[in-house]
Amino acid sequence: MIAAWPSPAGEEYALAFDKHRSRRVLVLPAWFDESNKLRHFAVEVMRRLDGAGVDSFLPDLPGCNESLAPLEAQTLASWRAEAAEASAYFSATHVLAVRAGAMVAPEALPGWRYAPLAGSSQLRGLLCARVLSSREAGRDENREALLAEGRDRGLELGGYRLGAAMIGDLEAADLPQAAQQRDVAQGDLGGAGLWLRAEPDHDSRQADALAAIIAVELLA
C-alpha cells in the first residue's frame, strides 16, 4: 500500500493500489488545508477503483504530507515536474486531479479533474483566512500588503510556509487547458464538497459516485 518513488527532490511516499493492472490512475491530491479534508475521500475513491480492477497511486508532492522536503522551496514548475515524474514512475495511464491538483496534472494524460481549483483561487482563499485570523488576533492586515510581502519574502498561510516563487506562481495561475481531461463538478457527485467542512468529514456516497464515473469511462 505504501510505496516510495524517486522524486527529483528526493524519495517520497505514495499510497498505492498496485496489482500491475493495465489501467493505472495517478491521483493528484488537493493542496494545503484541502488536502487534509479530502484525503479520506481520495483514498476511498482509490479503494473503490481497486475493487473495480483499476490500479491507482497517490503520491506525496515534495513539501506535503509525509515529505521531508521544504515546502518553501517548491514552485508550480517543480510540482509539475514531480507530478510528471510520478506519472512516469508508476506508468500511469490516466490521471485524477483533485481540486488544485489540476494545476499540476500532466497535460498528456487523459483523465478527470474533480472540482478543479485555479492556483489564484487557492491563494485567494488562503489569504482571506490569514486576514481573518489576524484580525481576530487584533492585527490589521490586508491582502495587498500580504501579497507584496509574499512575493518578496514568502508567506505563512494557514500554517503552510510558501516561498516567494510559489506565491508569485499562484497569483497568476489560471486553470490550465486540459483537452485530455474531463472536469467533474461537485454537482455530479451530489452533496456538498468535503473541502468546505469546518471539521474533516467523509461521505461514502460521494466516493461511490466519483469512482463510478471513472470506472464506467475506463472500463467502457
Partner: protein, 90 residues
C-alpha cells in the same frame, strides 16, 4: 425577481452554505435566528472554514466580497452576515 424573493433566496443560499460548512442537518440550520452566533461562537468555524464559507457564498450568489468589507462584526451572527450579503446583492 422582486426584492422580497431575492431576500428569501439569499437567506436560503446562506443557510445552505452554512449547512455544508458545519455539516449540520437542514433542520438545525433552519432554526438559526438572526442572533445565532457564528465566528467566535462556534469553535469549529475557524478562519480557514470562514474563508471557505465566504468563497462559496461568492460563487453561489455571484458576488465579490472585498477584504476591507470583512470584519468580526459582520461574521459574528447569522443576522449580521445575512444583512451584509443581502446588501451586496443590492
Amino acid at each position: 425577481m422582486s426584492s422580497h424573493a431575492a431576500a428569501s433566496d439569499t437567506d436560503s443560499v446562506l443557510r445552505g452554505v452554512l449547512q455544508d460548512v458545519l455539516g449540520l442537518a437542514a433542520d438545525r440550520v433552519a432554526a438559526f435566528t438572526p442572533e445565532t452566533g457564528l465566528f467566535g461562537h462556534l469553535p469549529e468555524l475557524d478562519s480557514m472554514a470562514v474563508a471557505g464559507l465566504l468563497t462559496e457564498v461568492e460563487d453561489r450568489l455571484g458576488i465579490v466580497i472585498e477584504d476591507d468589507e470583512v470584519d468580526g462584526e459582520m461574521l459574528e451572527t447569522y443576522g449580521a452576515l445575512l444583512t451584509f450579503v443581502q446588501a451586496k446583492r443590492g
